[in-house]
């Protein structure tokens, strides 16, 4: 009798613990900070600056989300994750949100039980080689030693690409981008492969970037986007529409420069709904009316984030390309705020 009471109590305790895990939005609000998973360091996307403040394109998404939920873009606890640890960190609840050059794939979405909340960078996997090696195509890499981050889609693409082209390679598994860079520069591998944007960002930090070339082959599609745990739809909505707000802001011409003026009300109803002067979009998400305004003010709209962190005027120097607005021939597109 006593036993069953005890076990019953334990079961209820277990159930309560399970139920408490839901409702990430409330958890974040109660905690007052957002736990955001980022890379261990990839300049332009997520890396701490000289003062230890994280900055970058992925960091911008984290800050926008923190600003939307908590009103403070600095209320973010950054958790550096490697290719191998990121999913466990998210699934276990160590982080609320993962913004870390993560490719949206079927199995991660369906089998690993995550929810991708959009795409913030359309990428593809490339190869970087030293210019002096004289290699002009990835197909010439037969027998090469390749540095590859473990636990990534690039690792699987690499195996498929070399197998389907009937050429061999020697993989050197590495854990972080910094390690890959060190091994590559020391000549311990002939080529480094990862997403082309990551290669450009890594090359930008080299002493002589001109000594290294990116090969023309792009061997995969890598739609990179932030993700959350499966099954917490309210939180997924908040994350999804924060990213969409940044994209819609660029499309509607809302920038960090003119947002204060536009927030007083305009004659464009979609801007008004986005900035909270019309309609109840914020309340529907369980947030303040000015949530999107805060998100955009955190680091600017999508285009501003891009230009500031990885655009052509930065050392990383990525062209907008596929990541231009849909109105300018790119793929970046937000569903309407209505």
């Amino acid at each position: 009798m006593k036993n069953s009471v005890l076990l019953g109590a334990l079961t209820i305790a277990g159930l309560a613990a399970g139920a408490a895990a839901a409702g990430t939005l409330d958890d974040v609000k109660a905690r007052g900070t957002l736990n955001c998973g980022v890379t261990t360091g990839l300049v332009g996307f997520a890396a701490p600056d000289a003062n230890g403040v994280w900055e970058g394109f992925d960091v911008g998404v984290c800050r926008a989300l923190a600003a939307a939920v908590l009103g403070d873009p600095m209320a973010v606890e950054f958790v550096p994750t490697t290719g191998q640890t990121r999913f466990t960190a998210l699934a276990s609840g160590e982080i609320d949100f993962l913004a870390r050059n993560t490719t949206w794939t079927f199995s991660r979405d369906v089998d690993l039980k995550f929810e991708f909340t959009g795409i913030n960078y359309y990428d593809g996997q490339g190869f970087m080689v030293p210019r002096e090696l004289g290699v002009s195509s990835a197909k010439d890499l037969d027998g090469a030693t390749v540095c590859i981050q473990t636990g990534t889609t690039t690792e699987l693409n690499l195996a498929d690409y070399f197998r389907s082209n009937n050429i061999s390679y020697e993989p050197v598994p590495i854990e972080t981008n910094a390690e890959g860079q060190q091994q590559y520069l020391a000549g311990a591998c002939d080529t480094y492969t990862t997403d082309a944007s990551g290669l450009a960002a890594t090359r930008a930090t080299f002493e002589n970037p001109g000594d290294h070339v990116l090969l023309p082959e792009i061997i995969s599609k890598e739609p990179l986007g932030p993700l959350v745990r499966h099954g917490d739809n309210e939180w997924a909505d908040v994350a999804r529409w924060t990213l969409n707000a940044l994209i819609a802001a660029e499309e509607l011409g809302v920038t960090s420069a003119n947002i204060a003026e536009l927030a007083n009300g305009t004659d464009n109803p979609e801007i008004n709904r986005l900035l909270g002067t019309e309609g109840e979009l914020g309340a529907m998400l369980g947030l303040e009316a000015d949530w999107a305004k805060n998100a955009i003010m955190a680091g600017g709209n999508y285009g501003e984030l891009f230009e500031k962190n990885i655009g052509e005027n930065t050392p990383i120097g990525l062209a907008r390309g596929l990541n231009a607005m849909w109105t300018e021939g790119g793929l970046i597109y937000s569903p309407p705020f209505r």
Binding site: G14, A159, G187
Partner: protein
Amino acid sequence: MTTLTDPPKVGFQLSQLIYDTRYRSITIQVIATILLIAGIYWLVNNTIQNLAALGKDFDFGFLTQPAGYDINQRLVEYSSQSTHGRAAFVGILNTLLVAFLGCVLATVLGVTAGVLRLSNNWVVSRLMAVYVEGFRNVPLLLWIIAIMALMTEGMSRIREFRVGGDASMILNDSVAVTNRGVYIPGIILENGFLASSAMNWLILLVILVVSLIVIRGVRKRSDAVQEDTGVRPNTWYQQLAILIIPVGLVMVLMGAELQYPELRGFNFSDGIHLRNSLIALWLALSLYTGAFIAEIVRAGILAISKGQSEAAFALGLRPNRTTNLVILPQAMRVIIPPLISQYLNLTKNSSLAIAVGYMDVRSTLGGITINQTGRELEGMLLLGAFYLLVSLAISGAMNVYNNRTQLQER
């Protein structure tokens, strides 16, 4: 008149469960068991609940799915189309390889350093003290990374081996020390009896084991002869012949040939490639554990009474024979039990392979496979079971050895 009567029978009271020593231990054990069961139930139940909340199930089917990733060091056939189970097996063999190599080298280093630290030569004993204290007091991970960095940054690049470069192969052009690892000549079996080269090597191994058993028989026979006649027959040439001839003959029949590493394309090919990750892990594990073994050996030797060596010297034995025949055999009884736990430590520490990208079982099953399939719980359970099994096996085998070396008492 007094009569003796039995003390009044008192019925069993609940308080006796606590205050009566006859029942107390049972009470405590029952309560402890209930708490243990409740604890396990809570853990399992919690896990089931949380898995359900995440929408996950518990299934080992992923082991039969194609892995999709490549592994650089593989002792058995493996390609990216093999299964996750196969990848785990490749990782297990890599773990066992580095653990075996590490245990052997650590023992050699440890025994040498332990004996030399007691040397009367001041310089030698101080040098050994520096080695032991240096490696014992700095974390293993730092040694692994330091050796890896030394290999990667300090050794010649492959391109320097090309014509006009300033690096060259050593030992009569047979060994290349590069920043991608060390390339040494390998033996290939040109026309083995079986299609699989692993099976051919297995045949050779079996022959070698049989030879060793025969050699044991020869030694036993000479022991018996010595018991009877007092003269030990000289059999070293027989033993050597039994060891070499059968294996050598079969190798010649299989067409064994030395294959030298050769620079082709991007890398050296042919021969055996000892990767940086293996070398760094192996050396660091051996040096680190060797320092601990040195202390165990020193303690074992110091445990032997000084009278033993004085008696040996009185018989006219030279110091090295005294050490080998009198001191070490007795010290072994003290040394072996702590040695077992050093072997276990070394094997478990091999999972620090993660620092240098050595593809051990933690990197394959416990790393990439978990990451690609999202089966953390299943993977970690399998990994835990593997390390448990290996530890129990090492400990079991070493305990058998320990029982045989202990003083036989009757």
